[in-house]
Subunit: 137 residues, 2 copies
Amino acid sequence: MLSNKAKYGLKALIPLGKNFDKQALLISEISESENIPKKFLEQILLDLKNKGYLQSKSGRNGGYWLIRKPQEIYLGDVVRILDGPLAPVQCASLTAYAPCQDCDVETCKVRFLMKDVRDAISNILDKRTLFDMINEK
Amino acid sequence: MLSNKAKYGLKALIPLGKNFDKQALLISEISESENIPKKFLEQILLDLKNKGYLQSKSGRNGGYWLIRKPQEIYLGDVVRILDGPLAPVQCASLTAYAPCQDCDVETCKVRFLMKDVRDAISNILDKRTLFDMINEK
DNA sequence: GTATTGTCTACTGTTTTAGTAGAGATTAAA
DNA sequence: TTTAATCTCTACTAAAACAGTAGACAATAC
């Protein structure tokens, strides 16, 4: 499941990506154009700023802008920042592995299955960039 | 994310699949061998029974058994029964589509992306059967 | 009739989600 | 230097989902 937080984050990156190397966008502008609750969006953009994806300026003529090329922003990383690991279960995660109590890492068939699911998800999200998403028809 | 409920359900099907056409298994046996809380497992097996996957008998020599061939039990369907739709967002679901309020079905880029993710997940879970999971090395 | 086993409904504690509230810090411009 | 605009930060909260537990009841075999 993708949370609203991650969905909003991905959506917000679209106008920011389109404006890459152009003027900054206001939280309120993005909030309105993308139908995202403003106060919630504040937090999301702040997260993305703290992870090095955005920069911002307060006051008049302030706003947010992207500080990486859309071609270099992998959607899997965005989802990880906002929602955590891609894997359906932690014991199948590559980036945030943690054992589960109820099964054996070496033999658990559910884990093997979910590793394949993880790989399939990663195969989309870690290969596709913001640029790709924006230009998807 | 896969809930414990679905994880336990998948795990429980393994001994049941291995015993297909053999004797019934007790809830308590499965609970112990698979490390699943017994009362929780009761509910899960009941769900799978009500959906036509298992049959059961009360009393002495009772227990649960599979009433479909492991080769014909698709793991995607099991996950849907226990956890709901596979798609990360409802508006990208094939089996349980519902529009989301904040975006337009025709143009939403996040939806397009998540449809691809859904397909990737389905490509694993709807093609693989209980038989496959049991015989995975 | 008694022990064993599944059935069913309801309840409960915890965590996560999806925000909201509001005071504060920065900035540009008048 | 004041003011308006804008981002920042912490805390709070309501609702839903998750992960079970409890216990009475029904069915079955011996």
